[in-house]
Structure formats: C-alpha cells, structure tokens
C-alpha cells in the first residue's frame, strides 16, 4: 500500500455465500492473517468442522469477526462445505502525533489519547479519542474546534495516526436579557446564573463563554431560585441565543412566567416503618403551615427524616414528599411518605487501600462493629474520627454497599493514604526571642501503626532547645495514649540595664518525660506524667564572680542562691473536662483542667505545684465570640528548702499583654547611679532607665483574659485578618523578701558618710575607701570624696537595691491585637495599655512576632 494519508473509509462487509448454504462444514481455512494465528481467528467465530451450518451461522460468524474490531475486511467463501475465511487485519499503530493545536499544548492533549503505539488500530478508539479532544476544547469555551484523524500507511501493515486540530475562535455571551420578571430584578436573577456577561471586569473568568449546556444549567438555577421563594408555578417559557451581527458573540433572551406565590399547607408524615409514630415526627419538622413555600426547606426536611431513620437502623429508608397543590388559597400541602424498609444490620466492615496503615488503626476508630444495627449518627462519628487521624484523603466517605440480603449492609472505608511525614522549617522575629529559627520533623503514622514520632530543634538568642518525642495513641490496643520525650533546653535569662539586655544566668536542662492519658468518657480525660530534669544554673563568671565565688555584691543574694546543679524528679496528674465545640477555634462550650505535680520522688528539689485552667466561649450576636479564660497556680516547697528561683512562676509577655517579659510580680531593682558629692546625704537616681531589674518570680499567680474576636467582612477574612479586643487581669506574688544591699547597710561609714567599699582581692575582706591622696587618678565629682582604695583592693562604687511588686493586688491591661497569616507567615501584633499596675512593674505597649514557614 502507498504511504499517502487516506480518509478512513468504513469497511464494507460483503458476505458472498454459496447460493445453496446448508450441509456439514468439511473444512475451514483462514487466509490473509499476518499477525494473528489461524486458531486465534477461529476462536472468535462459532463455526467448527463437522457442524451443520446455514446462512444465519455465516452471518453470525461475520458479526463476531466485526465485534473483535481486529479486521478492516473479512469474508467467508463457501464452496460446498469447504469454508475459507478471508481476513485483512487492522494495522498496528506505530506513532501518534497532534498537529495544529496552539491554545492547548501537547502535554494537555497527550493524556486524553487512549490509543497507544503497538496497539491495534480500531475506528472506535480513534473516534473516542477525537471526542475527548473536542471535550477538552469545549471546556476552554472553544465550541468551533474540530479534530480530523489522518492515517499514514507504513510498511508491514503499520500506520501513524495524526490528529489534525483546528481550534476556531472563542465565542462570548455579550448580553443576557430576561422578560416577564416583576418580583425580582434582572440583576438579581443574573446573579443566580452561572454564565456571566462578557464585560471588562470579567476578562479572566471563563464562564463568559457561550456554552449551550451551561444555558440549560442556568435555566435550572432560575427555577430553583423561584421555587425557593415560593413561586411553585414558575415556568421558563423560552430561552433563545442569537448571534450578534458580527457573528462573534451571542445575546441570550429568557422569557419567564412567575405565577403566584404559595404558602405551605398542612404538613404531615406518613411512615410505614414500625416504630416511627407520625405525630412525634411531625412535631419536629422545621416547616410550619403558613410559612412561604420553599423547595429548599422541603429537601432539607427529607434529608433530616432520612437521617433520623438512619439513627434507628433503617439505612435504606426512602423518604419522598407528595405535594397537594391548592390553587385557590395558594397553599401547598406536603405529606412526607417513608416507605417500608427493614432494619439493617452491619454484615461486614472492610478497610481497603491501606498499603501502609494497619487495618486495626482504622478499625479501632469505628464506633460500629459487625453485627450491630446500622446507625447513621455513629457512622458519621466514625467517619469524623477516621478523618481526624490525618492519614487519609480529605473527602473520605465510608461507602455503604448492599449486603448478602436486603437487611444486611457492608461498610467500606476506601482510604487513599497521603504522606503523613511533615518537615517544617520556620524563621521568626519576636520581641521576646529576637531572631528565632525553628525546625521540626514529624511522622504521624509511624510504621503504619498510628504512632507519632517527632523531633524538633529551635534556636534563638533567648533559648536553644532540641526534643525527640514518641506517642502510641492506643497502648495495648486500649484507649490509653502513652507518650514520652527526651529534651535539652538552654535558657539565657536576662535583665534590662537601661533598655539593653544583659544575660544574667544561664540554665541548661536535660530531661525526659513519660505521660499516659485516657478518655474516661466522651468529654472527661485524665493523664498521669513522670518527669526527670537535670538542671545546671550558672552565672557569667567574669561579671558576677569574685575570685571564684559568686559575689552577692555584684550578683545579688537571690541570684547567687540560684546557681548550682539540681535534679527534679516529679510525678503529676491532670484532669481535663472539655466541652468546647472545636479545639482549634472554639466558638461555644467550656473547658476546665486541674493538675498537680509533686516533685520529690528522689532528686534534690522538693515542691508541690498545683495548676487550674478554665475557659468559657459565649457566642454573641452575629459572629462575635466572647472568650473568657482564666488560669491560676500555686507552688510551695516542703522539707525545709524554699522554692528555687528557676522553679517559680513568672508572669509577663506574652501571656500578660501590656507588660514586659517577666514584667509583673516581685523584683529587685538596683540603682547604681548614686551622686555622693555630699557624702552625708547622697542623691539616688531612681528613674527606671538607670536601674537594673531582676524578676524574682512568685509562688502564686492568677491571670484572666476576656477577648472578643471581631468578625470582619469576607474580604478581610480572605486576607486572613483576625483582629480582636482584649482585657487581661492578673498578678504574681508570694515570695520571701530577699536581704538587699542598700546604701545604709553597706556603704555608710560610722561617720555617717557614704563611701565606696574597698575589697582585698586576696582574702575578700572589705573596708571603706578613704579620701584620695595626690597621686591617685582624678575621680568624677559625683563619686564623692571617699573613693580611693589601697593597692591590691577592688573599689565598688555605692549602689542601692529595692524590693517591689510582691502584692496580690490585680494588674489590669486593655488593648487590641491583630492575627494576620500574611503571605510570608503568621504575624501577630498586640498593642496593650496597662491601666492598673503596682510599683516596680515593667509595662510594654507594643509587641509583635512574625514567623515564616518555608
């Protein structure tokens, strides 16, 4: 055959048969087959040597050959019983090409083509591929597109298939007119439709193109809208689409007939299921006689009734509304008919598609077991529980398949596993931690057993920490979640000296924790925990030490007490009652949680720490939600030793907005700018900027927030803006008064003058400074007359310390904040003003933090 492209001619199937068919087949020979073997061709037709045959048998054979679509031409010749089956095989596809496609690229068209090289060329496959390509163009709005399949014949009966495409232009809808609508404006009705008019503003939107199917859809939308407004007699009289004069676009005109507006007549339920009494059902219907007729509410009621039937085990109950129209008083009576159906029991629960996750990990989330009565509520809960595992696709549905008999059902959870490993790296900047780097990796479905394995590292100037954690949610296949973690934390606590940070003590903690928790019932959960910490608190030697010893003059008595190594071994419990409707963004309900940690199971630290945490969320009008949360804690040391600085509570930013870090509660302020020009009565500069301020923490605290989130329009919500107004009230108190170094007890000589102190570097004994002699270096006047110390001595200029803030009286702050998931990460700003403070508290008006997830 020549290699010129030839139009695909439908094969003719002449069936010459001998004039007098009939008798016995003596032999069958197959002729013309190249690729297929003779017996393969014979296996397709029913004729066998020795059978009787007649005209119908031959025609049947030809039909069978045609059905295989393997042959372009086939005939059966019969000369007195010797049949010869003459076939010409369809060519084999060698290559497939697409030409003439500009708008749609090859990668878009290629997957649509089912015909592939090495397959046998059949007309039906080519026709199917052509239809699929045209469908692609339709979705693009190009209805004028045409696709021509061309064949290039090659040697050895092979063929190249070329799809020649002409894309044609895109026709738009220029104008939509609606005639006969009095109750609703054209604009309102156009809003209901999917097709939009081609205007400058709608350049991008694809549904301005003219698409006949979408017109039909628009008509249905119109009808649905009118029905939901009570116009039961609504009718679309005609819908015409004419081309514009320049043949480019279309103008669509609808003629509608609204008819009268109906109300609901009497609404009854007629159920033929045994334990469904109609009166109870009717009372619970949302539709009341006299309301405006609304088709949508009828549908919702049907769903509601099917749902209720499902609750009682009637999975396949059929609820159908029957309307009785009353044109004169314009009412529509409805009877909801529930058809007879048997109570259904679960025959089998199958989990499919779980190539990684174990069967029991999904099965244990089912609230139904095999043999139970079907219950749509429990099914819904099972579905939600499986979805909240987070291992599978978002739109997971448990399929209900007919069982082995009408009253049996098979539930199938067809899961598609998604990767449950998460690697998240984020950098951030906050007023607490300055620059912050965070990295964490977590596998939520470790080994397909539903176990959670996580490791996280974060690094900032304020703290560095690394942690590995593991949790088994169903320990021993029971509802006990057992988890543990090993962690290492380095904390640089700091204070502020005229507003720049100065690291005071460094605390490195290495520890492990194990916790076991269980759900006592749907809302109450309890958990036990054991924690072992090895702490090492150290001070910066150069600034605070005096020949190897922590120098109370420099570091202050309380800091010196804090340093050293300690092991804390504590066991604790928590009880948690949680009635919130949503754990992440609660809008209703309340929660209360109480817990106590008892440190002293071995280890050198002994204390009992109790905590209370509660919250209530009250939905106000509109989408306003008032969140009231409160927390309180109390810790007391026993066995003779006091609670150490690092174990006490601290309060300030970020929990208590409007105050600085650890800005609330007992603290020691050291004022080092003392003017001693007149040694008898020194002048101390008590301004904040000249003081260094160290918070001592407290063994008791309380803190409450009242926060209202302001719902913005949908526009702002798309941007992810969530502003809120808040009021914080709280206090930190109850700590032993530390003994302070003041001017009077350290720097005032017996003669009543304030003098610097000289300390012997060798043995640490101290004595007062004397008047400088001629050779000494000049000293600023404010340092006063007594400043010179003998050689080998260290001079310490006078300063004084004061103790503040140890009062339970509440501090109050009020302010507003904005949460914004900006394109480069979550962003939080808080502007809060402290209204009521105690002496010594450090307030802070503006705090922010931003983090990027990459």
């Amino acid at each position: 055959q020549d290699a010129t492209p030839v139009q695909v001619a439908p094969a003719t199937a002449p069936a010459e048969a001998a004039p007098v068919p009939g008798g016995v087949i003596r032999s069958i020979t197959v002729v013309g087959n190249q690729r297929l073997e003779a017996q393969t061709v014979l296996s397709y037709i029913a004729l066998r040597v020795g059978d009787r045959y007649d005209r119908a048998a031959l025609d049947q054979a030809l039909k069978e050959l045609a059905a295989t679509e393997l042959f372009t031409d086939f005939q059966i010749r019969d000369d007195a019983g010797n049949l010869t089956v003459q076939v010409a095989e369809n060519p084999v596809v060698n290559r497939i090409l697409v030409e003439g496609n500009k708008r749609l690229k090859d990668e878009k068209i290629r997957p649509e083509i089912k015909l592939a090289p090495r397959q046998i060329y059949t007309r039906s496959k080519v026709r199917a591929d052509v239809a699929r390509i045209i469908e692609l163009y339709k979705r693009q709005g190009r209805f004028a597109a045409t696709v021509e399949p061309k064949l290039v014949k090659l040697d050895q009966n092979r063929v190249d298939v070329i799809f020649v495409v002409e894309e044609g232009s895109k026709s738009k809808v220029r104008q939509i007119n609606i005639i006969g609508n009095e109750e609703f404006s054209d604009g309102k009705l156009r809003g209901e439709m999917a097709t939009k008019q081609a205007r400058l503003t709608s350049i991008l939107s694809s549904n301005t193109s003219y698409d006949p199917d979408r017109l039909a859809y628009d008509q249905a939308k119109l009808r649905e809208f009118y029905l939901s407004q009570g116009y039961a007699d609504f009718r679309v009289v005609s819908a015409v689409a004419e081309q514009t004069s320049d043949k480019q676009d279309f103008i669509i005109t609808y003629v509608v007939e609204e008819g009268k507006r109906y109300k609901f007549g009497d609404v009854t339920v007629d159920s033929s299921i045994r334990d469904f009494d109609n009166k109870a059902m009717e009372s619970r219907l949302q539709i009341k006689p006299g309301d405006w007729f609304n088709a949508k509410r009828v549908e919702d009621t049907v769903d509601g009734l099917t749902e209720t039937a499902g609750l009682f085990g009637y999975a396949f109950a059929k609820v159908s509304p029957r309307y009785t129209r009353n044109p004169d008083d314009l009412t529509m009576g409805i009877t909801f008919q529930i058809a007879e159906s048997p109570r259904v029991y679960i025959e089998r629960i199958d989990v499919n598609g779980n190539t990684l996750t174990e069967d029991k990990v999904v099965r244990r989330e089912f609230r139904l077991a095999e043999g139970d009565a079907f219950n749509s509520f429990l099914l819904k809960r099972s579905e939600n529980r499986i979805k909240s595992l987070g291992f599978f696709q978002e739109d997971l549905k448990i399929d209900q398949k007919e069982g082995s008999s009408p009253d049996r059902i098979v539930l199938e959870a067809n899961v598609e596993e998604k990767s449950t490993g998460q690697l998240s790296l984020s950098a951030g900047f906050s007023s607490i931690e300055n620059f912050l780097l965070q990295g964490s990796i977590q596998q939520k479905n470790f080994r397909g057993k539903g176990q959670i394995l996580g490791a996280s590292v974060n690094y900032s100037s304020y703290s560095k920490s690394a942690e590995i954690s593991f949790t088994e949610p169903y320990f021993l296949d029971r509802t006990i979640s057992l988890g543990g973690s090993i962690y290492r934390r380095d904390l640089n606590s700091f204070n502020f000296i005229n507003n720049n940070r100065q690291t005071t003590f460094k605390q490195t903690t290495t520890g492990l924790s194990v916790q076991a928790g269980t759900l006592l019932n749907e809302y109450l959960s309890a958990s036990l925990q054991y924690r072992l910490n090895i702490d090492n608190v150290s001070l910066d030697e150069s600034t605070y030490f005096f020949n190897g010893q922590c120098d109370p003059l420099r570091a202050g008595r309380f800091l010196c007490d804090a340093i050293g190594n300690r092991t804390t071994s504590l066991v604790g419990y928590t009880l948690n009652l949680d009635h919130r409707n949503n754990r992440l963004k609660p809008t209703a309900g309340y929660f209360v949680s109480v817990g106590q940690d008892f440190a002293g199971l071995g280890g050198s630290v002994k204390y009992l720490k109790s905590r209370l945490n509660a919250g209530k969320y009250i939905p106000l009008t509109g989408q306003f939600v008032l969140g009231l949360t409160a927390e309180a804690g109390y810790i007391f040391g026993y066995g003779g030793n006091d609670v150490r600085l690092t174990d006490r509570f601290f309060l300030g930013e970020p929990q208590f907005r409007g105050f600085d870090i650890r800005g609330v509660g007992p603290r020691v302020k050291r004022y080092s700018s003392v003017n001693v020009t007149d040694p008898a009565n020194p002048v101390v500069d008590f301004s904040n900027s000249a003081a260094s301020d160290d918070s001592l923490g407290g063994s008791a605290y309380y803190l409450a927030h009242a926060e209202v989130e302001i719902p913005l329009g949908s526009g702002a919500r798309d941007l992810g803006l969530r502003p809120s107004v808040f009021l914080d009230v709280g206090s930190l108190f109850k700590v032993k008064q530390p003994n302070l170094t003041t001017l009077s007890n350290t720097f005032t000589d017996t003669d009543g003058n304030v003098k610097a102190v000289c300390r012997d570097i060798a043995n640490g004994t101290s004595q007062f400074a004397v008047r400088p002699s001629a050779g000494d270096p000049p000293v600023p006047a404010t340092a006063g007359p007594f400043t010179s110390c003998p050689t080998g001595f260290q001079t310490i200029l006078p300063f004084t310390e004061q103790f503040f803030g140890n009062s339970y009286k509440p501090r109050v702050s009020i302010g507003f904040g904005v949460n914004w998931n900006s394109p480069f990460g979550p962003f939080r700003i808080d502007i809060a003003r402290a209204l009521l403070t105690q002496k010594g508290d450090d307030t802070k008006l503006f705090t922010f933090n931003v983090g990027t997830q990459f």
Partner: protein, 238 residues
Amino acid sequence: CAGKGGGVKDTSYVARDVDTLYLAAQNRLERGQYKVAAALFDEVERQHPYSPWARRAQLMSAYSYWLAQDHTKSIDAANRFLSIHPGNRDAPYASYLVALNYYEQISDIKRDQKTTRDALNALGEVMRRYPDTRYAADAKLKIDLVNDHLAGKEMEVGRYYERAGDWLAASLRFREVVDNYQTTSHTAEALFRLTESYLSLGIPDQAKASAAVLGANYPGSKWYKRAFDLMQKHAPDA
C-alpha cells in the same frame, strides 16, 4: 517520538532490522540490564509487528519487566500478548506470569489484601484455562498459600474484635474462616476462637458444637486441647 518507553536509553524511532534489535535485547537481558532489555523487546514488537519475532518479543518483554520487578508493566505486556494471541502455545506461560506478578506484591496480612485477591483470581484463571500444564500445578500450590493469607487477614480482624471485647463481631469473622477457608491452616484456630466467642456470648451449646467439630477434625492439635480445657472450665454440663 511519541509513546516509547520513557527514561530508558533513547531507543527512539531508529528503524533497525528485527534480528539486530532482538539480539541487542537478548544480550542486555543476559547482562542483567532488565529495564533496557524490556524496552528493546518493546521496540522489536513496535517496529516489526508482523515478524515471527514480534510474538516472542512481547513475551520476553513481559519476562524482562518481571525480572526488573516492574510488576505493573510486566502484567500489561503479558496481558497484551494474551489479547492478541489467546490460542498461542505460550499463552499459559503469559497468564501464569500475570498471576506471579500479583503474587509477588502480596503484602502482610495487616494491610490491604486487594493484590492478594487479584493474585487469587489470576491463579484461578491459569488453573481454569490451562488445567493440564505444569503452570497449573504450581498455581494450585500458590492458591492454597493465597487462601491461607486471606484467611490470616480474617483471623487478624477477628482477634482484634476479641481483644476489643466485641465478641459478636469476632464470632461472625471466625464463622467466615470456617465457612469459606476450611482447607487453610487457620481452620483449627478459627474453631477454637469460635468456642471462646460463643462461651463469652453465653451460648454454650454452640461453643460445644464448635469444640466437637474441632476435636473431630483436628484431634491432636493444641487448639483442640485448649478448647477442651475451656469447655471443662466454663460449661462442663453443656
């Protein structure tokens, strides 16, 4: 050009005569480069569909994909061979190869058993269509193992329900094993589990019936001994 084996040395549309192509594929196979060999065998079939070598090439390509453990491609190639040459004398081998590909992908009983069921159907196909070939004999062996595997999955689910205290669900699962998988190695344990389930469901005479059948069919097995002890302890007079 369109539609050739992706990612393999570019065996693009270079028309070569059938012998060189086939030999090239053959020695790639011997050298263990299965993926390349498979692609070359595909080329033989594509460029020379009507040569006698084309039929062999289809089979060899399926075999090469099998050695390269690319089960999906191997199954496709074998099925394509079967669709064109159902009557060929190598057809039994092709359908046996399909069954083996599924058989290789059976994962352990805690996971989805879809491939196990595919394997069962494919092996059944081999035995039904080519009963007197040596492939059928091997398929018979493998079918028993696959059934054992499916029974194992049912037992795994049944034991889960036992541990969760859903004894009714457990009994239904073990009934499934006794009814549909009698020839597997799990039947003895299933009967024992039924004794356990019926006792805890408070239906001693069904428990007795299960234990009796267990004793009749597996008198020496440890499961019967345990069932006997259970019956003595919990329902002596049943």
